[in-house]
Symmetry: C2
Subunit: 222 residues, 2 copies
Amino acid sequence: MTTSSDVKNLAERVTEQIRQRILHGDFAPGQRLSEAALSESLQISRNTLRETFRVLTKEGLLKHEPNRGVAVAIPSIAAIIDIYRVRRLIECQAIAQAYPSHPARKHMRQAVETGLQCRDRGDWQGAGTANMEFHMAIVELADSERLNVMFSHLLAELRLAFGMLQDPEFLHGPYVEMNQQILQLFESGKLAECATALNDYLVQSERIVLSACARHPIFKGR
Amino acid sequence: MTTSSDVKNLAERVTEQIRQRILHGDFAPGQRLSEAALSESLQISRNTLRETFRVLTKEGLLKHEPNRGVAVAIPSIAAIIDIYRVRRLIECQAIAQAYPSHPARKHMRQAVETGLQCRDRGDWQGAGTANMEFHMAIVELADSERLNVMFSHLLAELRLAFGMLQDPEFLHGPYVEMNQQILQLFESGKLAECATALNDYLVQSERIVLSACARHPIFKGR
DNA sequence: CGTGGATAGATTGTTCAACAATCATCCAAC
DNA sequence: GTTGGATGATTGTTGAACAATCTATCCACG
């Protein structure tokens, strides 16, 4: 599934590691990553670490300020609106023009299944991940490698925002059933209805996230 | 229009410089860029140059092979197909859901105008650039910063492919009028027709590019 | 003559140390 | 309280060095 070789550079391995630590919340949004401190703690040189910083900055997970180093990106209200705008455009179109027997349907089913299990288990972290996988699978319907990687970066950035918000049950709870519903519409071939439902879903999701942001201290007065 | 400051790092300035040189054809697709040679010719250190390589690799302009360094990316047939798939999805949807008085309309007009002038002057290089600007303006209709940067990378990668192909008049000649036609449909508010015309345009453009590739020696036997 | 492998050369991967440039802090002077 | 400059810390950039890997050459062997 990945690009050929698993034999990667040290720099690429570290990039993946830091990426995961950011998404897992080990590094909080806004936290500055010191080159000296992090390179020592990871047992790598500053130069190698700087290479990874450039990559993660391009992915939108880090923010680089000249002569001030990098910090974990803080998703702004504007960023969230922007991301949902892209999601509506891409996801709805991807599902509208797909054929229902597309192999990515397996991924959609799998994600819905996992989401149900996680919800029943009370694992909202897992439910959130499953939700991301479901929408990633929707984009796979468009059969474009470039769209896939671009969209995965988009979802990663959004996950950063989710990580900042409390009340995960409220955030991810309703979506498992909505995903199930969308999958049903898709498999029954009602693509137009499906795209409409997905659009409504995204509008509602955006609204919930934004209202959660409005209650969050970090967004007050920005 | 750019992100705040014009005061940039050496690394970022060099990144921009190399990017331009690649797109301008100073570095041919497939050409390997030696760290030692290029860093010396640019009067910068290898470490700084490597940072720029990582960025340009993520943008798709360079290809990185472990222990073999980087080379200017060679657009494959598959890549071109992939790119046009994304273009159809994004551009058509962007124009379909836009409102005709959007400020980006100015950019569309400007690009069409420039395209006409370049064509009459026989400047097919400029006509190609104007064409890219026109389609960039279409994406701007969607009002998403992220979509804009993602799409600009896509077009840059495509420009790499155009650069490899000869016969620029044949490639870029018909498009100035087609763009004009699309702009007219858009300004008259016939968005559905406009999206359809744009889709046809992209299908035809893809076909022409692919057939040009088929005649190109580098693609024979791949 | 062709094949295979050893060897040497070149390039990338990674680290380290140093210095310049810039930013943040703090304290004194007004 | 504000301005101003000295001070310390961090990033920006460089050069050199060595390890790891790939490429090319050449020679021995069948």
